[in-house]
Symmetry: C2
């Protein structure tokens, strides 16, 4: 099956219905486009685990709290389609905003708690927009499996929580962050960095790695670790720390004392570009894996 | 196929998956039990239109703003199962609260606007609870069609809006209110009326009918109609009007002037029992039907 680009919800349903009837396992990779190797990794995994890979490309207005950010978010659909084709995806769902929101949206999915911290604090309404559009995509595509990058750890936690609480019949798969050789996490926003900013950006990764080492070596006081790390980042010319927190990896609640696996999560501004990254950390005696914990499969959707 | 009772979400998924694979059309009748002929009408229609009728029986704690009301809501599962069997339903889904909410719910579906008026004003959080549990039931059962009574007109409007906004692949079917010979709308709460209250209860229907006649005869000022109707109801011994409004049938917004079809909707207390009812009304020159407008089928889910 070669790649098709579909712009309408009806078109998606019509295209997918026969595949579903044949018992094909459908994988969804939700994106906002400007695809890079991080998305590529999601697609590769989806291709291995499912029979039909659907990539959605939609810059969702309702998750932008800043309209300028929305306006300048990179849009590169023709290149994105080529990219999906090269990676063997079957379908690109590329609706416009009028298709996804034919009337002012009045129904929202709210995920309390985990949505309110970190990015949620600085981007009010952001995760409500994310949860709502992902619920819509789940209803339109009805995937068996959906793939999200661990770079957006809080987004992943919000979606896992939504899926569990609302009994959405989909398996959420988290995929490790892909990085540049110098450690910078791949992000569509990296395109906006000036060459100088780009050369400074890996400081975020290095600081998170340093936190990881300290915690592995037994440092247990998150306040001390946090202070040092913020000071380190603020020394980078033009870098401003929005937040840097040591939180529990599921609820994203700041921990008082590090006694098990924690997530070090940061958002920084470099000039007018906002970058986020995170690192799972654990004391030497705790979980040795550098991965986020898998979804607690309270219930596995039955096909 | 004889009737099965299933208490778990996993059990539902396992039972329905093979039916779905065979291409069976699945109908869902969501209820809180204490089934009566109103529910029976929903089931009969579902039976005519689908291959497999699922009746959910779940007294949903999150839609009760008053814990006493939740505690005393009638629970009659054995009789309900018998009733479903007699009406030819295939499946009763009867989970307990721990099955539906294994952990404190943190994800909610909010339908702004239409949820906030009428019952929403007097029962804060009610429609959030309703929308969320119905979304869960839709995700668990994945019905092709779902049936709701027009007696709960605002609930029906909230669910239609949710389904449309969130692209849930289900057709929502509204079914006309079933009434006692004296006009009282069937409701599980009617059981709680004393014999004297029961004899007074049809006043609500009669008042709504009077409103309908006045509007058909050309009365255009909702304030005047409303005032007379409230006065009429308040003359009934023991009856207290919670609200009585003339609203547009889709958004439930009070209208300033009656120029097309409107909904007259009321909630009254009779002693400690709350009763609701509504009546679609139209000036003689407008839509002649006494039915709620059908769902605007912006998109019809494809099987």
């Amino acid at each position: 099956m070669s790649l098709s680009v579909v712009a309408t919800i009806d078109g998606m349903r019509r295209t997918l219905a026969p595949l579903r009837r044949e018992g094909k396992v459908i994988g969804l990779v939700p994106t906002m486009g400007a695809l890079h190797a991080g998305h590529g990794r999601l697609m590769e995994l989806a291709r291995r685990e499912t029979d039909c890979v659907v990539v959605s490309v939609f810059v969702n207005p309702t998750q932008f709290n800043d309209q300028q950010d929305y306006a300048k978010y990179p849009r590169t659909l023709p290149r994105d389609v080529e990219f999906c084709q090269a990676l063997g995806a079957e379908l690109v769902f590329a609706p416009d905003a009028a298709e996804m929101y034919p009337q002012p949206a009045t129904s929202f999915v709210e995920v309390a708690g985990v949505s309110e911290r970190l990015c949620g604090e600085f981007r009010p309404g952001h995760f409500r927009g994310v949860a709502t559009v992902v619920a819509k995509l789940f209803h339109i595509v009805q995937p068996d499996r959906a793939y999200f990058g661990e770079k957006d750890a809080q987004q992943l936690a919000v979606i896992r929580r939504m899926v569990r609480d609302l009994d959405i019949p989909v398996t959420v798969v988290g995929v490790p962050t892909v990085r540049e050789p110098d450690g910078l996490a791949l992000s569509s926003r990296n395109q906006r960095l000036s060459p100088e900013e780009r050369s400074l950006a890996p400081a975020v990764y290095r600081t998170l790695q340093r936190i990881r080492s300290r915690i592995a070596d037994g440092a247990g006081d998150p306040r001390e670790i946090r202070q040092d790390a913020v000071a380190e980042l603020e020394r980078v010319p033009g870098m401003r720390v929005e937040y840097l927190e040591i939180v529990d990896p599921e609820e994203m609640r700041p921990v008082g004392r590090i006694e098990g696996p924690v997530l070090a999560a940061a958002a920084v501004w470099l000039g007018s570009t906002r970058l986020i990254d995170n690192q799972l950390c654990a004391p030497a005696n705790a979980s040795p894996s550098g991965r986020l914990p898998p979804e607690k499969a309270l219930r596995r959707p039955t096909k």
